[in-house]
Assembly symmetry: C2
Homo-oligomer: 200 residues x 2
């Protein structure tokens, strides 16, 4: 599937591909997934709808590729020597402007995920599972260093804690999730839940 998609996309330049993804993300933040049409994407990017379908197969694939394109790939490479350092590094990989745009993006797809099984499966396979696997690398190193117990019950809720703090910031406080908010939340909630003293 990935190879076919890559082969299909190879007909356009990387610059053009980036431009297309930016436009898709922009529309997604503006109107959400359900109201996003291939017509609107074609119009904004001055492409033909036929080209979009030929290169990406459909809306769900195009949207997930665009979201994936926008994410830094570096979580798995982070290794600062402490769990606190690693988690702070994760939330400072992206600047506040990007955090705010990602927060809008998440609102744009959260409702649609439930009603579109194809979107849900693509997001899980291409975003949630890789993210989880990157966090498992970070966590395994913390366990190996003796910072976190391997049987700590909070471990199975790593993404719930982190994504939850990110997703509820705007909902509850009417403010975007900034680096400052996310690092405070990690120190106050995530590390203590894992049995790690953030002041140590």
């Amino acid at each position: 599937m990935t190879d076919v998609a890559t082969a299909r996309r190879s007909r356009i330049t990387p610059e053009r591909e980036a431009e297309l993804y930016e436009a898709v993300l922009e529309l997604l933040r503006e109107v959400g997934y359900d109201a996003l049409t291939m017509d609107a994407i074609a119009a904004r990017t001055r492409s033909s709808k036929a080209t979009l379908y030929r290169q990406w197969g459909g809306k769900a694939e195009l949207v997930v590729r665009a979201i994936r394109y926008s994410k830094p790939d570096a979580t798995g490479d982070i290794d600062t020597g402490s769990l606190r350092g690693d988690l702070h590094a994760v939330v400072t990989l992206e600047d506040d402007c990007t955090h705010e745009r990602n927060s809008a993006l998440m609102r744009g797809v959260a409702m649609a995920m439930h009603n579109n099984p194809d979107l849900r499966e693509a997001l899980r396979a291409q975003l949630v599972d890789p993210e989880l696997s990157d966090f498992q690398t970070v966590i395994q190193r913390a366990i190996d260093r003796g910072e976190v117990r391997a049987d700590c019950p909070a471990l199975e809720f790593m993404l719930h804690m982190l994504v939850g703090g990110f997703a509820t910031r705007m909902l509850l406080d009417d403010q975007p999730p900034t680096q400052a908010f996310l690092t405070s939340y990690i120190d106050a909630v995530v590390l203590p839940a894992l049995g790690v003293d953030p002041t140590a």
Copy 2:
């Protein structure tokens, strides 16, 4: 504002009011806030649009009243003698079927909140602030009992932790937030973050 609204609504029976709210919630879960129209509500409830506008003023007010109507009012009354008991009682106030419906409801309004300041303000004033104040009662008792330190940094993230676990369950695991999931999450994340040993 509340008195005017109550006076206006007093022209219809409580049964009819409940029936209207149920229909609004059903539509909200189905199509989300933005796609929800007063026409659709009028059609489903066999009311005239003029009646709906006269009695509720507009879509945001009608939607927030309907959500508020669906919430049990009892969080503030919970007093089991321990924070763990109180938090478990909060999530078992509603059965799993209701948790699943509330999760769909939250998806339905999360995107819209951002684009509709009137909806956001109504939700904050009528739902988030009262909820926060109920939790503060529960937390204050835990502090008074010596279970939680008054300066515990996780205290300012109570709703982020709880709403976050609730909101991310479907997003990350493709499963509704059940009582069993929420009580495990409270024991694994919320209580340890607050410095409370859930096995004590």
